[in-house]
């Protein structure tokens, strides 16, 4: 299990390849990347603030729960903070399981939990103004299915 919190970009392809490489007992690898979206047009920068210390603890706890619940061979979470532009990768998760259902479910679980239980906050900057992204009710509701 590996949890990385960093401001620098990461290489999604290399990370996915390294994660998948050399596993003989795991039949399924699922990877997911989150990308900065420019929904309304005009996004200059997405700024992500986090809570150093708590972020790493929260992500490790979420990843450990996923590993335990789906008997994963491994799990990876990379999440960036700082400023990034539209199209840049914000974060990725990867899961390795014996069967694909477990790998998919565990990846969804990781995403649902790190969206509303890991201390990150997004702020969108446009040429005109800047505003904090509001949490959505459905993100909180998504936890109920687990």
């Amino acid at each position: 299990m590996r949890v990385v919190v960093q401001d620098a970009p990461f290489d999604y392809g290399k990370e996915a390849e390294a994660f998948a490489d050399g596993r003989h007992d795991m039949g399924a690898i699922v990877t997911f990347a989150g990308i900065v979206r420019d929904i309304a047009g005009g996004l200059d920068v997405m700024e992500i603030e986090h809570y150093p210390g708590m972020t790493e603890k929260a992500l490790k706890k979420i990843a450990a729960e996923a590993v335990d619940r789906w008997s994963l061979g491994d799990a990876l979470v990379i999440h960036r903070y700082g400023r990034m532009g539209a199209g840049e990768k914000i974060m990725m998760v990867a899961t390795a399981a014996r069967h694909r259902k477990d790998a998919f479910e565990a990846a969804e679980y990781l995403m649902d939990y790190l969206k509303s239980r890991a201390p990150f906050w997004k702020k969108e900057h446009t040429a005109q103004d800047a505003g904090w992204v509001a949490a959505k009710d459905e993100d909180e509701a998504a936890l109920d299915r687990w």
């Binding site: 210390g53 708590m54 201390p119 990150f120 906050w121 702020k123 904090w132 509001a134």
Partner: protein, 81 residues
Amino acid sequence: MDVLYFAWVRERIGVPKEKIETTAATVNDLISELRGREERYDAAFADLTALRVALDQELSEFDAPLEGVREVAFFPPMTGG
């Protein structure tokens, strides 16, 4: 204890972190004390449904006791991913 603020809570209060001497028994007591100090705290803590609290880096509740706690953090609901 150290009190930390993040995102718009940090912007509204104007500092990311401060040391606060308090005898408040619970998070709610601490919030009442802060709100009584200055308008900027009163504004930031006006709607607790828009806030979350962490005690020593674990998500917690507003009625949680503060005894033994070294670090309190206030922030809006999280928007990672």
